[in-house]
């Protein structure tokens, strides 16, 4: 079977699940982070013979790693609703334990996993804007000047961004399998997007552009969890091909 893993409020995750199902991918499950919080029978083994995973959803369906043929992974956190009333220090501990656990079993899957977990993110490597700018320059994209100092009071955790002025018009390219999808992207920019995708090392990469000092396609940020809906039909078809390719692994 195939799985789409995402947050309960992830509209793009629900969209790709629907798009893949309408293209005949079956059996295909949609499992949210909240669903995982209420799974039981977790059994993850690591040892001489490799690594395995087995768990049972609240519906009673048992998932075995060896039965999975492909996963779209957009999990970026591990919800712990059952720990809501615990002490903060215990909640933080459990959160770290679950992140460590989910990273391990997702890494152990032998089927294609788009995106594979990394220590910097359950669904691919999160990077600060400075690192994205550094990589985007290497990829040959037009980038703005990036400056950061101890005088700054920008809170990225609350959505503030250094590269994107408030209200700026953003255009987004989604790269999957080396194919740049999204709005009409000039060929030179698309080539830069592909180079950045290779440097980033994740299956999905969303790349934002805005009008800036370096021109109308000035790099404005990137994410391993893009809004897949922007990639439309081409993206859905590419993901389907990747998940069903014979003996594929990512």
């Amino acid at each position: 079977m195939w799985l789409v893993l995402c947050d309960r409020n992830d509209a793009a995750g629900v969209w790709i699940h629907s798009a893949l199902r309408s293209r005949g991918l079956a059996p295909l499950g949609l499992v949210t982070g909240e669903d995982l919080a209420f799974c039981d029978g977790w059994e993850h083994r690591v040892g001489r013979s490799g690594a395995t995973i087995r768990f049972r959803l609240e519906s009673g369906l048992t998932i075995r790693g060896e039965d999975l043929r492909g996963v779209v992974n957009r999990l970026y956190t591990a919800p712990i609703p059952q720990w809501r009333s615990a002490r903060k220090v215990d909640r933080e501990y459990v959160q770290q334990e679950l992140l460590a656990f989910h990273m391990s079993w997702l890494h152990a899957l032998r089927c294609p996993v788009l995106n594979r977990p990394t220590p910097q993110g359950l669904c691919g490597q999160w990077r600060p804007e400075s690192e994205w700018v550094w990589l985007a320059q290497k990829a040959g994209l037009q980038t703005p000047r990036y400056r950061q100092s101890t005088r700054d009071r920008i809170d990225e955790a609350s959505g503030q961004r250094r590269l994107l002025p408030p209200g700026a018009l953003v255009r987004t390219a989604i790269v999957v399998e080396g194919i740049a999808t999204g709005e009409r992207i000039p060929p030179a920019v698309a080539e830069g997007c592909r180079r950045l995708w290779r440097l980033a090392g994740s299956a999905f990469l969303g790349i934002d552009f805005a009008e800036g000092a370096a021109g109308p396609w000035t790099f404005a940020g990137a994410t391993p969890v893009p809004d897949l809906r922007l990639g439309g039909e081409l993206l859905a078809a590419t993901v389907l091909a990747r998940l069903t390719a014979p003996a594929a692994s990512t």
């Binding site: 039981d40 933080e92 910097q120 600060p128 400075s130 690192e131 990036y146 950061q148 100092s149």
Partner: protein, 309 residues
Amino acid sequence: MILLCGIPSEPPLVLVAGALEQLGAPYVLLNQRRFADTAMAFEIADATLTGWMEIDGEGYPLQAIEAVYTRLMDFRMLPELRDVPETSEPWQHCSALHDVLTRWSEICPARVVNRVASMGSNSSKPYQAQLIRRHGFEVPDTLVTGDPDRVLDFRARHGRIIYKSSSGIRSIVRPFEDEDVERLPAVRWCPTQFQEYIEGTDVRVHVVGKEVFPTRIESSATDYRYAQSEVGEAARLVPTELPDLVAESCVRMTEALGLAFAGIDLKLRPDGRVYCFEVNPCPGFSYYEANTGQPIAMAVARHLAGRTQ
């Protein structure tokens, strides 16, 4: 110029600073506790990374920093920030300083011991165990489960088992005893990591670049770091040697994880099998150096100074 970051009285930092002085290698110390007297900025423009750092009124161009050794503690735990609100200027400045320092050190061309991204594998021990296996080491049979019956089956199969955290938090190894069975249903609340107990000799291997410092640990405690409280007697640490193949595997694994310096926990079985439990990317090596005289700090200093053997 070499940049040392952390608290100056912390033993590993003391030892590395001392070794750099012996080498005559110039260094500057960023004292975490004196964050209020430290400022830093960097800029990326035209494919170039430049910047400036000011410590106690003295300025340094970041382009002149050739190497960085970080022993930073979680800044939120600094005594200077106790009872200080997160919205206050001191807290905000301290947070901004650590953010600037980390971001710059992740992309700067200096020799960084170690970059944050490379240290990440240690945040999930079962994940890291999968990486360790690729380098030819044995890893203990491990079960992470939320099912008490699976734990009892696992114990029946292996006899002696231990439990420990999956993440890097509260990472103390404890034996699973009969009295633990009663509270086993608690694992339903959070999948918990259990491992077969491996008999053998504990060896901590510090790897610095291609240099290897193996230390044999003699103790009857399950977690020798806590031997004094666990068995009433501190562990005895002795310099030892490793078979060439094992030493080479330690070096290769450290390099593959993107680390310049690591502390690797091995268990050597009497039958010759070598188990690896963990690769620590920020080893507190001073405990081993103080007990054995192994020149680990000097190796780190040579690496930082670009004078590797």
